[in-house]
C-alpha cells in the first residue's frame, strides 16, 4: 500500500460502499456474498474512495457496479477487460476492478481477457465462475463440465471446458487466486491481496447459481466435504488440509501426490511449502489443475509474481520522451521538419 491515507480513506467503511440500490440477484445466489466481500476488502486497501472505478460487462454478476457507491461502468458483453484497460491506461492513479463471469470473460471476451493478462495492466478482475449462463437462463458456458446437460446441450456438452487459471498461466499471468463464494473470510483476504498487487490480478471465485446450476461446486464447497476437498494455500506455509490437517501435498517426480502425515513415515517436513512468488509457473499450474475427488482444489493466492506493469511502462516511456524531446507543444511539432515560407 503506497498511497498516503487521507482523512477520508481512514473513515471509509463497507457501509459507504453500498449504493443504496436494491440488490436484485436471486435469493441464495453466491453474488451477494462476493459483493459483501469486496465492500469489506476495499476499506482495508486504503485507497481514496473517489479513485475506485468498477467496470463490468454483461451477465448476472455484471450488475455489480450498480450496487457499489463508487465510479462504475456497466458495459457490453465481453468487453469489460478492454474498457477497464482504457480506464487504467488513461489515468493510472485510479484503482480499477473488473467484475465478470465465465461467459463474459472466457467466451465472448476471451480475446480481451488473455491480452489484458499478457500485458499485465494493473487492474483487478473478479471472475465469478458458476459454469453456466445465468442471465440468459441456463445455457452451457466455456467452463461447464463436459457432458453436463443444459438447455443448449440436451445430450450433454461435447466441449472440453477451460480452467481459468490455466488460461492465466498460458497468457503469462502474474497473479492468480481462487476462492469459494461461501468462505467470506478467505475471499475478503484474497481480494485485499489482489487489490494491493501491481499487475493484472485474476481472482476466480467458485460461485453457485441457485437457479440454473445448483450445486455445481458442491463437491468442493459443501460444509461436510470442504476440509478434505480444499487446500488453502498461504505464502510460506506447508500445503496441509483435511479435517485433522494431517493431509498434505508432496511432489513425486513430475506429479503432485496427496499424502497423510504419520502414514508410511511421512512427516510435515516433506510437505510442499507454498511459494506464490516463484517465477517458474510449473508448480502453480499443477496446483491450479488439481481436481476433486482425487485432489483438493487449491484455494488462495496461487501465483503472485512481481513484474513491471504495462501502465507503469507506458507512463515511463512518456516521461522519458517528454524529458528528451525538443517538442514541448503542438506549435513546436508543426514548426519542426521541412517547412517553407511564402512571402
Amino acid at each position: 500500500m503506497t498511497d498516503v491515507l487521507s482523512q477520508d480513506t481512514l473513515t471509509l467503511s463497507a457501509k459507504d460502499l453500498k449504493s443504496g440500490l436494491e440488490v436484485k440477484w436471486c435469493a441464495g445466489c453466491g453474488d451477494h456474498a462476493i459483493l459483501n466481500c469486496l465492500q469489506n476488502a476495499l476499506p482495508k486497501l486504503g485507497h481514496k474512495h473517489e479513485d475506485i472505478v468498477i467496470v463490468s460487462g454483461i451477465g448476472c454478476s455484471s450488475r455489480f457496479p450498480y450496487y457499489m457507491n463508487t465510479y462504475g461502468m456497466h458495459t457490453i458483453h465481453g468487453r469489460a477487460s478492454s474498457i477497464a484497460s482504457g480506464v487504467k491506461l488513461a489515468n493510472s492513479k485510479l484503482h480499477v476492478w473488473q467484475i465478470t463471469g465465465d461467459g463474459d470473460a472466457l467466451a465472448i471476451g476471451g480475446n480481451h481477457f488473455i491480452h489484458t493478462v499478457r500485458r499485465n495492466i494493473d487492474i483487478n478482475v473478479i471472475l465469478f465462475n458458476n459454469e453456466i449462463y445465468g442471465l440468459t437462463k441456463g445455457q452451457y458456458s466455456p467452463t461447464t463440465k463436459k457432458g453436463h446437460i443444459t438447455k443448449t446441450s440436451p445430450q450433454g456438452t461435447i466441449e472440453i471446458p477451460f480452467n481459468p487459471g490455466e488460461l492465466v498461466i498460458g497468457s503469462k499471468g502474474k497473479f492468480f487466486a481462487r476462492s469459494v463464494d461461501n468462505n467470506l473470510a478467505i475471499t475478503t483476504e484474497i481480494l485485499v491481496e489482489a487489490g494491493s498487487f501491481k499487475g493484472t490480478s485474476i481472482v476466480e471465485i467458485l460461485q453457485n447459481c441457485v437457479i440454473f446450476n445448483q450445486g455445481t461446486h458442491a463437491m468442493v464447497t459443501d460444509k461436510d466435504v470442504k476440509d478434505d476437498r480444499q487446500v488453502i494455500l498461504k505464502q510460506g506455509q506447508p500445503m496441509l488440509f483435511g479435517k485433522n490437517r494431517n493431509k498434505g501435498l508432496v511432489l513425486r517426480g513430475l506429479e503432485l501426490e496427496v499424502v497423510t502425515i504419520g502414514e508410511n513415515g511421512i512427516t510435515e517436513k516433506e510437505i510442499l511449502v507454498h511459494d506464490a512468488k516463484m517465477v517458474n509457473p510449473s508448480l502453480h499450474l499443477m496446483l491450479i489443475n488439481m481436481k476433486a475427488p482425487d485432489f483438493p482444489v487449491a484455494i488462495g493466492v496461487i501465483r503472485a509474481v512481481d513484474d513491471i506493469t504495462y501502465d507503469a511502462e507506458l507512463e515511463q516511456q512518456i516521461t522519458d520522451v517528454k524529458a528528451n524531446s525538443k517538442i514541448k507543444s503542438v506549435d513546436d511539432l508543426f514548426a519542426a521538419g521541412d517547412i517553407w515560407e511564402v512571402k
Binding site: 456497466h74 478492454s82 491506461l89 488513461a90 485510479l94 521538419g337 515560407e341
Partner: protein
C-alpha cells in the same frame, strides 16, 4: 540551362510514376512532390498501389503508381490524366497507358523491355516497336544499365544498386521540369546519416538521371513557375497525418490528455503510427488486440476524462458498431475516424470509396444517432479532425469522421496553424459539486450532459448500456422514460446544427444546376464547376463536410437551383439520405464505384448533358 533544349512554360503538369511495387515509385513520387512544394508550386498527389506488398515481379497486378499534379495555378486534384508517364517495365506501361493524355510523354526503362518482361506483362509484340504508341512522345532510357554503370565502383552489392534505379528516373523528371535537385540531396543526407554510402549512391544516380536527360537533346524542358500562394509558413501533409495533428491540437486546446486505442488496418494505420510518435505531447497510444478493444479502451479513457479517439477503416467500423452504441448510450465524447476503402467486406483495401456513409449514419442497433462528418481534402483533414473533437467534447456524444484512402494517402501543402488561432473548446467537465448537481444534468441549449470524471470527490456515479432515468441516470425500464431518452439523444445530435457552419455554394449562387458532393470528391467537383462556370454555364457546387446534422441552410440552398445532382463514389448513399431527409427536392445522381476518384472529364460530360436539357 542547356541552350540546345526547347523551353516552354506551363501552368500545370501531371506526372505519373509507375513500376513494380518494389521499384520505389512511391518514394520517387513523394520526393518529386516535396521538391515541387518547396520550389513553390501548388501540389496534389495520388498514390495508387496494389494491396499485395510484393506481387509477382513484372506482372500487371504488381504495378504501383504515384501521380502528382503540380502547378503555378490552383491545384484541387491530382489530375485526371498525366502529361508524363514514367514506366519502369512493360507491365507498368500496359496498365498505366489509360491514365496518359493523348500526345503525352512516356519515359521507359528500355532495359526492362526484354522478351521475358513483355511476355510477363502480356504483350504479344513490343509496343515500343509495333507502332501502337505513335500518338505519344517516347523517351527511351537505359535506366537499369546506367544505374549499374554509375555505381559499379561504389562497393555496393548488386541488389542495393538495383534499388536506386528509381532515382535515375526521378533525375530525368527533375531535368525535364527544372526541379531543385539539392532539396532531394539533403533528404538523402538526413535519411542515411549513418550510411553515407547509401546517401552518396542515391545522390549520384539522381544526378546521373538528370545529366542523362540533359545530354539527350530530344527532351523538351518545361518550366512550371511557382504559384501565388497566401503568405505564411507551409509544410506538406497527407490526410492521415493532418487528421492525427488535428486531434493533437484539439487535445492541447481543450487541455486534455489524448488517448488513441486502435488496431492496424489499411488505409488508417498511419494515424495510429503518427500518434504513436508523439508521446512528447502526452499522447497515450495503445495498439490493441482487435478493433473492438480499440474502441473499448477509448470508451474507458473517455469516462476518465481524456480526449478519446479510435481510428479504423470500413470493416473495422463494422466491428466497433456495438461499442459506438454504448458511447451513445453513456453520452461520452468519442471521435471515431473511419478512413473509407472499397467495400463490402475486405473489398479493395488500398482503393478509395465513399461507401461507409450509411454504416456511419445507421449501422447500430436501436435509434442511435451519431454526429457524422467528412474530410474534404488532405490538408483539410486537420480542421475536420479538430472540429470532430470539439463537437464530441462540447456535445458529449460520439462523432464519426469519414475520410478515405484518396485524401488519407494524398498530400498537399498545408498552411501551418497556431494553436492560439484555433476555435475555443469548452468541455462539459464539472470541477466541483455545486447545488443539486447530477452527472445527467443537461445544458439547456445543447442538451449535453455534465462530464463527471473519476477522482472527483462526492460525485460518484454509475453509468451503463442500460436505458437511464432522465433525471438521475440510474438504470430504468420505464416505458415513457425510454421514449423521452431516445428523443433526447436524437434532439441532442440535431441541435449540433447550431454549432456548425452554413453550407457555402461555390460558383453560381442560384440558377440551373447545383452539384452536390460530400467529403473527398471536393477537389474534382470544384475543378469542374469552376471550369464550366468559366465557360458560361450556370452551375454551383455545395460540398458537405457536415452530414448529420446537415447545415441549417441546406434546404434554402437547394431551393435556389432548378436541378440538383448528387455525385459520390458509391451506389447513392448520400442522395438517398437526402431523399428522405429533404423530401421536397428532386435529386439526380452520378455514381462511380471503381475504387478510383472521379475524373474531371467524366463529370463535365455528365453535367453538360444535364445543362443542355435545361
Amino acid at each position: 540551362m542547356n541552350k540546345n533544349t526547347i523551353v516552354k512554360e506551363l501552368k500545370k503538369v501531371t506526372i505519373r510514376f509507375t513500376g513494380d511495387s518494389g521499384d520505389g515509385m512511391q518514394l520517387a513520387g513523394m520526393l518529386f512532390s516535396d521538391a515541387s512544394a518547396l520550389y513553390g508550386n501548388n501540389i496534389s498527389t495520388f498514390p495508387d498501389f496494389p494491396s499485395e506488398i510484393r506481387a509477382p515481379q513484372g506482372t500487371v497486378s504488381g504495378v504501383s503508381g504515384f501521380q502528382v499534379h503540380f502547378g503555378h495555378s490552383k491545384i484541387d486534384t491530382p489530375g485526371d490524366h498525366a502529361d508524363v508517364l514514367v514506366a519502369m517495365n512493360p507491365a507498368a506501361l500496359k496498365i498505366s497507358l489509360q491514365w496518359l493524355k493523348k500526345g503525352g510523354t512516356i519515359i521507359v526503362d528500355i532495359d526492362s523491355f526484354t522478351e521475358k518482361d513483355l511476355a510477363k506483362a502480356g504483350y504479344l509484340t513490343n509496343p515500343l516497336e509495333d507502332g501502337s504508341l505513335s500518338d505519344y512522345q517516347i523517351i527511351v532510357a537505359p535506366i537499369t544499365s546506367q544505374t549499374h554503370e554509375i555505381l559499379k565502383d561504389s562497393g555496393l552489392d548488386n541488389k542495393s544498386i538495383h534499388k536506386t534505379k528509381n532515382m535515375f528516373a526521378l533525375g530525368i523528371t527533375y531535368y525535364m521540369f527544372d526541379r531543385p535537385i539539392e532539396i532531394t540531396e539533403v533528404y538523402f543526407e538526413k535519411k542515411f546519416k549513418e550510411k553515407a554510402g547509401f546517401a552518396a549512391a542515391n545522390k549520384k544516380v539522381l544526378r546521373g538521371g538528370y545529366n542523362f536527360a540533359g545530354n539527350v537533346h530530344a527532351i523538351e524542358r518545361v518550366i512550371v513557375p511557382p504559384a501565388d500562394i497566401e503568405k505564411g509558413f507551409y509544410r506538406t501533409v497527407n490526410g492521415n497525418q493532418a487528421t492525427a495533428w488535428g486531434l493533437l491540437a484539439a487535445a492541447e486546446k481543450a487541455q486534455l490528455q489524448l488517448f488513441l486505442g486502435s488496431y492496424p488496418i489499411t488505409p488508417a494505420s498511419d494515424i495510429l503510427q503518427e500518434l504513436a510518435k508523439h508521446k512528447a505531447l502526452g499522447a497515450h497510444v495503445v495498439q490493441c488486440e482487435d478493433e473492438i478493444a480499440g474502441i473499448c479502451t477509448s470508451i474507458g479513457a473517455s469516462f476518465v476524462g481524456n480526449l478519446a479517439v479510435t481510428s479504423t477503416s470500413g470493416p473495422g467500423l463494422s466491428l466497433k458498431s456495438e461499442a459506438i452504441g454504448l458511447a451513445v448510450m453513456m453520452e461520452l465524447p468519442l471521435v471515431i475516424v473511419n478512413v473509407q476503402r472499397g467495400g463490402p467486406s475486405t473489398g479493395l483495401p488500398t482503393k478509395t470509396e465513399q461507401s461507409d456513409l450509411m454504416q456511419a449514419l445507421y449501422g447500430r442497433n436501436g435509434d442511435c444517432p451519431c454526429i457524422v462528418m467528412a474530410g474534404l481534402t488532405s490538408a483539410g483533414c486537420f480542421e475536420s479532425a479538430y472540429m470532430a473533437a470539439k463537437l464530441a467534447l462540447e456535445h458529449m456524444t460520439p462523432v464519426i469522421l469519414l475520410t478515405d484512402g484518396y485524401i488519407a494517402n494524398g498530400s498537399q501543402p498545408w498552411k501551418i496553424k497556431k494553436v492560439s488561432e484555433l476555435p475555443e473548446i469548452r468541455t462539459k467537465r464539472v470541477a466541483k459539486k455545486t447545488g443539486n448537481h447530477t452527472p445527467f444534468m443537461r445544458a439547456e441549449d445543447s442538451l449535453a450532459r455534465n462530464w463527471v470524471i473519476p477522482g472527483q470527490k462526492d460525485m460518484m456515479y454509475r453509468i451503463g448500456g442500460l436505458e437511464k432515468d432522465y433525471v438521475t441516470g440510474a438504470a430504468s425500464h420505464d416505458p415513457k422514460n425510454h421514449e423521452k431518452m431516445v428523443k433526447t439523444r436524437d434532439e441532442k445530435v440535431k441541435r449540433v446544427v447550431n454549432s456548425i457552419p452554413d453550407i457555402e455554394v461555390v460558383g453560381e449562387q442560384s440558377g440551373d444546376l447545383l452539384v452536390v458532393g460530400w467529403g473527398s470528391t471536393y477537389g474534382h467537383l470544384l475543378s469542374v464547376v469552376r471550369k464550366m462556370q468559366g465557360e458560361g454555364y450556370n452551375v454551383g457546387l455545395a460540398q458537405f463536410a457536415y452530414i448529420n446534422p446537415l447545415p441549417k441552410n441546406t434546404a434554402e440552398v437547394f431551393s435556389r437551383f432548378k436541378k440538383i445532382i448528387v455525385c459520390e463514389l458509391n451506389l447513392g448513399q448520400f442522395v438517398n439520405y437526402l431523399r428522405f431527409t429533404l423530401q421536397q427536392f428532386q435529386y439526380l445522381q452520378y455514381n462511380k464505384i471503381q475504387g478510383l476518384p472521379f475524373t474531371q472529364e467524366e463529370l463535365k460530360k455528365e453535367f453538360s448533358n444535364i445543362l443542355d436539357t435545361i
